[in-house]
Amino acid sequence: MVEKGRARIHRIRLLVLSGAFLLILGNPFLNFYLQINFVQGWYQSFGIGNLWFVSPLEGLESLLVAKQIFLPTLMGMLIPICLAALLGSVYCSWLCPISFFHELLDFLRKKVTGRKFLKDRLILPRRILWYVLIGEILLSLVLAAPVFVFLSPPGLVGREIMIAVFFHTLALEGVIVLLVLVMNLVTRRFFCRYFCPLGATLNVIGAKRKMRVIQDKEICTDCGMCDHSCPLGLTPSMGMAESVYCWNCGECTTVCKPGALEYHWVRKGDAGSVKESLPTAPSSSDPHQ
């Protein structure tokens, strides 16, 4: 029962990813052919009626570069920031269209090569992520034009779909998306791991996140399946699922046969108190063995 429940996390995540992608895929068609303007935009800024979402990094860049406070931008950033502060960078693993393409590519790769996990061929120090974030913000300030907003792969996916539907052409900068996807074949989630400033922002916001994958050392059998399964190349067996880099995709909880890795809702922000924390896996199945 428990295993079934955990396998469900993987399936739910793929469903959510596909749904999030279908939303930005179908929305331009609704806007263009049926003139239904209720939903607009993609994950740079998304408007559902009067409920607006603004991507935290893009909003921050816009506010910093323009040096003007604009309240709707801040309000739009509120929900994504709260989400990231509580659940970590779930946007990256559960919603991002690039993640959707990555999963699709992984699926095809498994079909073609028959190998379940890909060995990461190019490994860089993880702290590059922070340098990229700082460098990106500094570069935006120097150029007085935000850099990430027109070169961000997740934003580009949405923009390319919209341009294809509205103007029946494609923009040149879509090459960046292809590049990101090709790098995924060298090292899984290469761009997400080392170069995504948005991911870095969400990681910073979610550094003290409430929902964490916590390892129960007493149950763990050191099989190492979680280390193989982690798309970011983290080692949950050594507790790295609690680090800032983890994006809470839940892949390790899916493959963990003994059930040592579970989503936990951390109460006091201290990761050590595993026993006191309440397990609240999205599968809501019985957490006990």
């Binding site: 935009g41 860049e61 323009a66 003007q68 739009g76 341009i163």
Partner: protein, 210 residues
């Protein structure tokens, strides 16, 4: 520069010189075109008949404020607003209106959805996308070739923004919203593709009060 000849004590000096020259040449070949490209990289795409949507902030901060979410393009019912691509440099992904192709019909839907205040919420008559300028040298009416008043007829602020002076069109500068409907309708085209009445986006070059 005979590099192969350097033997003995002279070799390190020569090598250093060689490295210096090569480094200079390399940086020149990389930096000079880069500087030239950087100039066009940050050149605004706004020009005659190339307008920002209503309520746009000055070009000085437009690229900085706009987060390229494309929501203004999606809500535009006339498909007036199009997106620029990476050839516009840092302005890639910003919205623009080609007035002679599809002008702005001032439905004011785009200003409602902009999440960053790049398009400020303004009323229709407050819109200042530019100013229509009648080119008297090619306008048929001003040239006394015929009596055409197409621009006057299509103007949404008829008698206010465009008036007739002895049946010749005259633009009232402080009333013109710069929507470009007159440009779109004008039957006269000069060789460079411009019409007899064009929109000059002069408001886009205003300075920002910090």
């Amino acid at each position: 520069m005979s590099f192969a000849g350097g033997i003995g004590n002279e070799a390190p000096l020569k090598r250093r010189e060689f490295v210096k020259i090569m480094a200079g040449a390399l940086s020149a070949t990389i930096l000079l075109p880069a500087a030239a490209r950087a100039l066009s990289f940050s050149k605004s795409p706004v020009a005659t008949n190339r307008l920002r949507p209503p309520g746009a902030v000055p070009e000085e901060i437009f690229a900085g404020k706009c987060i390229r979410c494309g929501r203004c393009v999606e809500v535009c019912p006339y498909r007036s607003i199009t997106l620029l691509d990476v050839r516009a440099g840092v302005f890639a992904g910003t919205p623009i209106i080609a007035a002679e192709e599809i002008p702005c019909y001032l439905c004011m839907k785009c200003v409602e959805v902009c999440p960053t205040g790049t398009l400020l919420k303004i009323r229709q008559e407050e819109t200042r996308m530019g100013i229509a300028i009648v080119n008297k040298h090619i306008c048929y009416t001003w040239q006394s070739l015929t009596i055409c008043r197409t621009c006057f007829d299509v103007c949404p602020y008829k008698e206010k923004a465009i008036t007739l002076d002895q049946l010749r069109p005259v633009v009232v500068e402080d009333q013109c919203v710069g929507c470009g409907i007159c440009t779109h309708a004008c039957p006269v085209s000069s060789e460079d593709g411009k019409k007899a009445v064009n929109i000059e986006p002069i408001h886009a070059w205003e300075r920002v009060q910090w």
